[in-house]
Amino acid sequence: MTYIAKPKVHHPSLQKNAIGLTRRDYEGAMSTLCAGCGHDSVTGALIHAFWELDLEPHRVAKLSGIGCSSKTPTYFLKNAHGFNSVHGRMPSIATGANAANQDLTYIGISGDGDSLSIGLGQLCHIIRRNVNMLYVLENNGVYGLTKGQFSASADRGSLAKRGEANPFEAIDGAMLALTLGATFVARSFSGDKEQLVPILKAGLKHKGFAFVDVISPCVTFNDHDGSTKSYAHTREHLHEVDDVDFVPLRKEISLPADAGSTPEVRLHDGSVIRFRRIDGNYDPTDKDRAYSYLRERAKSGEVVTGLLYVSPDSLDLHDNNKTVKKPLTEVPYEELVPGAATLAKLQKRYR
């Protein structure tokens, strides 16, 4: 909402990052979402993550589908190119964009309606192609923008605002991503910026498709008693499995002395994801265990959060395609076209 006071992202200082930008430089237009909407907190976390990673805003491409969630790209990185596309089909646009220019940082924002209903096929296939991007699913269990219908992530038995119970099994985006061979799967909560920011940073730096399911409550249509996606329910049923710290390559020198004792995952560019195991010896590089663990916890109604799985040797779309290292948009025309003489020669075969 543009003209009613709203919780502002905190700017305790106008501190500058390594490329001389303040957090303000990573903001976007004023939010037009409802006061208290989870999505706005995700926006805040994203601004923080981009700032901390010292990314140049204009080297980022931000994409979305349609929905309240899909409006959020407007609210951060005003200096990045944005694409608010059509409902559920952002993954294909991101895939094409990334194929054309692999040098930008890609972030996609979607909702549970956008990703798990109309866009489910595209989501599954972008996972399969392992397109290098951070994909944030702002999950509130409803269609916010069309005023509160159940989405496919609504749990069986969860109550609608008018009291009706959802009769269908929920689709769990994280489980689905694991099943489809995703190389980076995390879950977090819009209300837990501490946890969310490092996950987003790690996702941005992961080479491949980083899927982050963020429980992001809809205060207007799904924050009541009986909803399993309300702030209260989510807070109560959160179960954190690990505590992630993301260490970009260039900062590595400043690692604490006891670094060796913390398990870590080294990404392709040398950055490191370090995680503190909160639940027993949860290991986010062990996919099979991750899966059965999630199932187990889900059965007892828990919402497992943290970095659930990461594959350090992920091969992205361009690795598999063997694209030249340069963005295709920058390959000069002359290197694309074999010329008149070759055309003449080539045609011998058609005679």
Binding site: R59, G82, S85, G96, A97, T329, L336, R351
Partner: protein
């Protein structure tokens, strides 16, 4: 027996076989050999929508005058598929010949008094000569090719050469082919008086020409236009376009270390394919997708996004018979209206209509230029006949001085010099606002959206701001009419005119001559793009009556001309054929004369 006049280099024959039996290569061989003899030739492959067993046909027309449109009159029929005997034998013209496999007794269905029946024991011969089952099936085809060589006086040296070129490296295969060819040839020579009155004789009319299908040519066009991202979902008859692009890219765009200067994305469906194209084009890559009718329907929502957000995209629609799945291996021009006006809301798109593979090449390049220049989707409407059949066309030429017209795209340096950048501002007054590519600079950043936006690029729900943008887009699209490929016109001042589109070109040109011989003078215009150039209207205005010739049921081209020119429909007589085969001149001749008759009658009644 009817006495058949000799017809050198002017006849047609048809071969019927079951699908998947390998006849395609034998048929291609015959056609190519005729081409190498310097004689204008065309081949139409009529195949079923399955992989093995259903009936398939191959039609070859030889015409010294260069008329290579389909003809339904066959002088000779090679009937090797019992499943279609009855239908096939009816297609031989009276006085013609029927060749069948005399390993088995002549089927009653094949008997026809007015046709000379030639029996060759093909199965018997190849079973004697070859061992493996698969080889026997394949060699039967080469054997009938040999027989046709004798009957039609095909140059055996040329065939031998072609076989050598194909199987040169596989000695055993080469030997088998040569043997099978000789089997058929010798048998025919021995048992029939060869050649028949329909026969071939060397000419020099194919110099400077090639035999190529439209999909391959369009793929080459994409390569030469500098397209780097191709996204697609397989669909007949568009599949071979992307396969062609891939093979050319493998040839010309791979580095010694195996890295690629292109990306081909096999999407999960057509919605995704067009989304990928839009994404890549947004980034500044030239990008395209080949598809057919069902794909266009599925892409409709995205097409509206590209139109309204003004993102280039090149979409090849290789049309097949609709509606719905229709007859996927038959041709038609049924998607004209859909492509011109695809998507909900007020939309109108640029459409380019190649008539043959040569134009597929050249117009593909122009399509990319138009898409970039007008920042909008451009459809290239081909069809199954153009796309999948080999056509004799002029050798493709290229001007090395060509550089893509990327339209108005601001660089970082240009942006630096500007006060501010506004995405949808019509600075030049030509309806086209400059764009920037993602990643260029912070100053060039803007938000692309399919929802309401104003000329500055901001979100809007204000009616006035909305109208300003959509009105400009309408102006932009209409302004493309004179920039797109212009109509091809043959005007000799006649009172009658024919207007057509795409692959009907050959049939129409042949019909012009046929009508001329009947004393009916007709001028000709073939549209090559939509929105139509002014010359289309002028042509209609300059003629008393105009016949619109097209391959669909509803007269879609005629409707579009009516919509865009406002010319009363009475003036636009409709001639349509839409049974799935390529158009023939006789459809047009009989259409024109049928229309004229009532007029004559009317005139007579008055006098």
């Amino acid at each position: 027996m009817i006495n058949f006049p000799e017809r050198v280099n002017a006849f047609a024959f048809k071969i019927a076989t079951p699908n998947g039996s390998g006849s395609a290569s034998a048929n291609g061989l015959i056609m190519q050999a005729i081409f190498r003899m310097g004689i204008p030739v065309s081949g139409k492959n009529v195949f079923p929508s399955n992989i093995q067993g259903l009936p398939t046909w191959y039609e070859i027309r030889v015409n010294k005058d260069g008329h290579t449109a389909r003809t339904p009159d066959f002088d000779l029929f090679v009937a090797l598929n019992p499943a279609t005997y009855k239908k096939d034998v009816a297609e031989v013209r009276s006085g013609g010949w029927l060749l069948y496999d005399s390993t088995w007794p002549l089927a009653a269905e094949l008997m026809r008094e007015d046709v000379t029946i030639l029996g060759i024991p093909l199965a018997h011969m190849v079973n004697e000569a070859f061992a493996g089952g698969r080889e026997r099936i394949l060699m039967k085809n080469i054997a009938y090719a040999g027989a046709l060589a004798a009957l039609l006086d095909l140059d055996m040296e040329i065939i031998a050469e072609l076989i050598k070129a194909t199987y040169g490296r596989k000695a055993a295969l080469l030997a088998s082919n040569e043997k099978a060819l000789a089997l058929g040839f010798d048998y025919a020579k021995k048992h029939f008086s060869c050649p028949l009155p329909i026969r071939l004789a060397k000419m020099d009319k194919t110099a400077g020409h090639i035999l190529i299908d439209g999909n391959t040519a369009a793929a080459l066009g994409c390569v030469y236009a500098g397209a780097t991202v191709g996204a697609w979902y397989p669909i007949t008859p568009a599949t071979s376009l992307m396969e062609g692009f891939k093979s050319f890219c493998q040839q010309f765009r791979e580095n010694p270390d195996g890295t690629k200067r292109y990306a081909i994305l096999q999407a999960e469906d057509e919605l995704s394919a067009i989304g990928m194209v839009i994404g890549a084009s947004w980034m500044g890559a030239r990008s395209f997708t080949p598809t057919s009718g069902p794909g266009i329907s599925l892409m409709s929502e995205f097409i509206g996004l590209a139109y309204y957000a003004e993102i280039p995209a090149v979409i090849f629609d290789v049309q097949r018979t609709g509606p719905s799945t229709g007859m996927p291996t038959r041709t038609q021009q049924g998607d004209l209206m859909l492509c011109a006006y695809a998507s909900h809301g007020d939309t109108k798109h640029l459409v380019i209509f190649p008539a043959n593979p040569e134009e597929c090449f050249h117009l593909a390049v122009q399509a990319f230029d138009a898409a970039d220049r007008f920042q909008t989707p451009v459809f290239v409407l081909s069809d199954l006949d153009i796309g999948m059949n080999d056509w004799m066309v002029k050798e493709l030429t290229w001007d090395d001085a060509y550089r893509p017209d990327r339209g108005k795209v601001f660089t970082a340096a240009e942006l630096d010099k500007m006060q501010a950048f506004h995405r949808y501002l019509d600075v030049d007054g030509d309806g086209i606002a400059a764009r920037t590519l993602p990643g260029t600079s912070a100053k060039g950043a803007y938000f692309t959206r399919g929802s309401g936006h104003n000329k500055l690029g901001g979100y809007t729900e204000d009616g006035g701001e909305y109208v300003e943008v959509v009105d400009r887009i309408a102006r932009k699209i209409n302004s493309a009419a004179e920039a797109l490929p212009q109509p091809v016109i043959i005007g000799k001042g006649h009172k009658l005119g024919i207007i057509t589109v795409g692959s009907n070109d050959g049939a129409c040109r042949e019909a012009l001559e046929d009508l001329g011989r009947q004393g009916i003078g007709v001028d000709y215009l073939r549209v090559r793009a939509f929105p139509f150039a002014k010359s289309v209207r002028d042509f209609i205005d300059a003629h008393d009556s105009v016949f619109i010739v097209e391959s669909n049921r509803d007269g879609q081209l005629r409707t579009m001309i009516q919509i865009e020119t406002g010319i009363p429909v009475e003036k636009l007589k409709s001639i349509r054929y839409y049974g799935g085969f390529p158009m023939s001149s006789h459809h047009i001749v009989s259409g024109v004369t049928a229309h004229l008759k009532p007029q004559v009658v009317a005139r007579e009644a008055q006098s």
